[in-house]
Amino acid sequence: MVDVAALPDALEEVAPPASRHGAAAWGSWLLRRLGLAVLTLWLVSVLVFVATTALGDPVRAILGKDYGSDKARVAELEAQLHLDQSPVTRYLHWLGGLLTGDPGSSIASQRPVSELVGANVVNTLVLVLLAAIVMIPVAFGIAMISANFRRRRPDTVIQTVMLAMAALPEFVIGILLVAVFSTTVLHVLPAVTLSAPGVHPWNDPKTMIMPVATLVLAVAPYVSRIVRATLLEVLDSDYVELARLKGIPESVVMRKHALLNAIVPGIQVIALQLAWLAGGVVLVEKVFNYPGVGNQLVDSVNNHDVPMVQALSMIIAGVYVVVNLVADLLSILLTPRARTAISS
């Protein structure tokens, strides 16, 4: 009989993971990522500034054909935009204002940008958050059902419907919803959001239902298809086969063994989609007359309201950066290999 106890010390084969410096390693990782995020935002600020004010003559763009006739207005605008200063000075001035929370005043209404933008940003964020809360479980649920029935009838039907929905522009979905629930077929939900300035739309929860539903329907197909594809790959893996051969019930195999390993690509897609939504789904906001960022951005561009456009662009960029940072962090936390690579 072989003496099992005489086997050499297996610990020598692999050095134990160094966990002493774990916290420090995480700190430096986070600092590096935050630094990169700040760098990204700074680059965006340069591009936004150059694109909106430094190229061409903004006053001429704002006034259009009035530029020649209304000398007083020209002078007034030039003063407001500090056009007498060099572009670098103006940029630094603007950047300083951004950092101290004062991105200037709107040209159209002469009111502070921060005051005008604040409510709409909150509206959009609430809309996106609600959409995410509904969409994530729905998308994962559909993906799991679909993967469970892989390449059989229910899976085929689900995938066809998903593909069709992904192919539809989101405003078409919005219009269809309006037709079904508010105008042509039923009259159960309000077709548009009618909220007084300063009042948030969710004070009347019914008005939120259709915008949220539209966004969910627009985004869930992508997420669900990616998660299904990853799930199928994971379900073919050796460890899922071993779990089944070990006698683990199928529902536990799906939840614990498969989903846990399929979640990361899902997170990345969700992040991209949410950031895209936060950038303002203009058409959806138009359809429902929702007072969000997208609507405001379009109006500001139409009015050549330079400070508004700059501020909104920066906010959208900020949301992108933050959402992606959070997604990366979550992905790493959910992937043991990546997680242990950082802390060791």
């Binding site: 086969e241 779990a243 051969l245 006698g247 683990i248 063994h257």
Partner: protein
């Protein structure tokens, strides 16, 4: 370790109490009347290890998983019984089958590195099944996991239990899988090639552990593998599978001393021995896939003993000796087999050497990390020098430096007296042409978008050897040399089997008309019978063209049959070197002795 088996053989076969019996099993492809395995009868008694041997495509894994009532997607268990006690696993409702799995009948996977869930800590994974079934308390389960890990020679402290699979080495992961399978104290164990890809030392350790556990716990084990040498080490009885059927079944000694089926004999003939060099022979043709298997005896079209009746008569398993069956109608007529058949003299250590490649004081780095330390050796004309070592020994790294694929090295590599540049870009066209590299995995080394003709032609065009029609003629000639017909010219690599792909890779290397071939584990991804034919081909090329070869391998037995000189590497240093006969017959270093002792052998 081979002395621990085959006692109490009298009572083993008669009883199935506690063991498991497969009767008339047939697994087919779903929706088609094509069998994956057919007519399988096997009995596993408690405390017995039965080796199920076969090459890829023989259906051995299918038989293994059907013991757990499981068929891979695309396959269907069509007929047969798996009798466990008085229950038929295949006839039970699936809830009860699931209940049997793990607790009564356990499975150890082929590649545990991919079979352990990467996002569940191993401590949790080991006790997962028992926790789900509510067996014992949390403390008792943890206790069991610790005891199980100790049993397989692993640490069992909290730190170890909290690790993930990727934080363990290959051998550790394999032993975790063993401990996990053993924890619920199953009565039957199916092991699916659990040591493939492990170093010989680790493999030896895992095999010892497994054998000890099976015998001490009275477990009936089915050991599924393609490696006859491993089976010779561990199994009490052996079943040899070919094309979905058991062709020979018997005690280990019967199978290895008196193999009676032509396929078993051909397999044994293709295995290199540690004790003596052999002229390895492959089996002509290729293993037929399900659906393409011939009528009559499934081996008849590759069998040297086949007669007309073999193509028409479906042979049954007939007894040769008591407890020894073979599926061959000519079993009494084909004479006896001798293990020393095919033995050839070892390479002559006193041969005149005309050195062509000299490596001196080679240090190799990956970034700032030094991985090869001060290695010196040389290679003579028409000579094969083997670089042998376990994973991480630096053998492939050295060969990559010689082949110009790795640039971070210091020292000298002299080719016919002039130094070679670091990396192929710094080498002359003639140096690049004269040193060719053959990669380990032919499934990855051939461009999947090119035809075989384009692949083999490319080096000729590159080095201006031939072009156009003339090149095509040379391609046909080269393919013929590596025993491939002109029919493959227009095919892409995906249509070829592993052995055929490796032949194409060799033909591609030969197309450059090289003087030195660097062969990096060229046979380790292939079945033994294919390995035999590739080795025979390389030996023929060495003799006829005078090509020198640097042969990287972890298989010491293979070294004996192919190489004249050997460098034993460990941790990036040469531990021992010299002629193959000297090093293997009278090793001076402890490390070499241990490698030799741990290498599974049939001689």
């Amino acid at each position: 370790m081979s002395a621990t088996t085959s006692d109490a053989s009298g009572s083993r076969r008669s009883t199935t109490a506690g063991g498991i019996a497969v009767q008339d099993l047939r697994v087919s492809l779903t929706g088609r009347d094509v069998d994956v395995v057919d007519d399988i009868d096997l009995v596993l008694s408690p405390g017995e290890v039965v080796g199920l041997v076969g090459e890829s495509g023989s259906g051995k894994t299918t038989v293994g998983t059907s013991l757990l009532g499981y068929a891979r997607p695309g396959a269907l268990i069509e007929r047969g019984k798996v009798l466990y006690g008085d229950r038929d696993v295949l006839g039970l409702p699936w809830q009860q089958v699931r209940q049997l799995r793990g607790e009564e009948i356990a499975y150890v996977p082929q590649d545990p590195a991919s079979a352990l869930n990467p996002s569940i800590r191993i401590g949790k994974q080991i006790v997962e099944l028992m926790a789900l079934r509510g067996i014992g308390t949390a403390e008792s389960r943890l206790e069991g996991a610790r005891a199980g890990l100790a049993e397989v020679g692993l640490p069992n402290d909290d730190d170890f239990l909290r690790r993930y699979a990727h934080q363990l080495s290959g051998g550790q992961v394999q032993r975790v899988a063993l401990a996990m399978a053993f924890l619920p104290r199953p009565k039957v164990l199916v092991l699916d090639e659990p040591t493939t890809g492990l170093d010989v030392t680790t493999q030896g350790m895992v095999l010892d552990t497994m054998g000890a556990l099976c015998r001490s716990h009275g477990v009936a084990a089915l050991y599924v593998t393609h490696d006859l040498a491993v089976v010779a080490t561990i199994a009490d009885r052996v079943a040899v599978m070919y094309a979905g059927q058991v062709v020979e079944l018997g005690d280990r000694d019967q199978i290895f001393r008196r193999p009676s089926h032509p396929y078993t004999r051909a397999l044994l003939d293709s295995i290199p021995h540690l004790r003596q060099a052999r002229a390895l022979a492959g089996i002509p043709g290729r293993t037929p896939a399900p659906g393409a298997r011939p009528e009559g005896c499934r081996f008849h079209d590759r069998c040297p003993y086949a007669v007309e009746a073999c193509a028409t008569t479906l042979p049954q398993l007939v007894p040769v000796d008591p407890g020894h069956d073979a599926r061959c109608i000519r079993v009494g007529e084909i004479g006896t087999w001798d293990i020393s058949l095919g033995t050839v003299p070892d390479a002559d250590p006193g041969r005149q050497r005309d050195v062509i490649l000299r490596i001196e004081d080679l240090d190799v780095y990956y970034g700032r990390k030094k991985v090869v330390h001060d290695v010196s050796f040389d290679l003579a004309n028409a000579e094969v020098v083997a670089l042998v070592g376990e994973s991480g020994s630096g053998k492939t790294t050295i060969s990559r430096c010689v082949g110009g694929l790795h640039r971070e090295w210091q020292g000298t590599i002299d080719f016919e007296g002039s130094p070679l540049g670091k990396g192929s870009r710094r080498r002359s066209v003639s140096d690049r042409k004269r040193i060719q590299y053959i990669f380990q995995n032919p499934y990855l080394s051939l461009n999947p978008r090119l035809t075989i003709e384009q692949i083999v032609k490319r080096p000729m065009e590159l080095f201006g050897i031939a072009s156009g029609r003339q090149a095509t003629d040379k391609v046909v000639e080269l393919l013929e040399q590596v025993a491939l017909g002109p029919a493959v010219l227009r095919l892409q690599a995906s249509r070829l089997s592993g052995g055929e792909r490796q032949r194409v890779a060799i033909a591609r290397a030969l197309a450059a008309e090289p003087d030195v071939l660097v062969c990096d584990e060229v046979t380790s991804a292939l079945d033994v019978s294919v390995q035999g034919s590739i080795v025979a081909l390389l030996e023929e090329l060495r003799k006829s063209r005078g090509i020198s070869m640097l042969f990287v391998t972890h298989n010491l037995a293979l070294v004996r049959s192919i190489a004249a000189r050997v460098q034993i590497l460990n941790g990036g240093r040469v531990v021992e070197s010299g002629s193959v006969v000297e090093v293997m017959d009278s090793p001076k270093e402890e490390y070499t002795r241990r490698l030799l002792a741990n290498s599974p052998r049939i001689d």
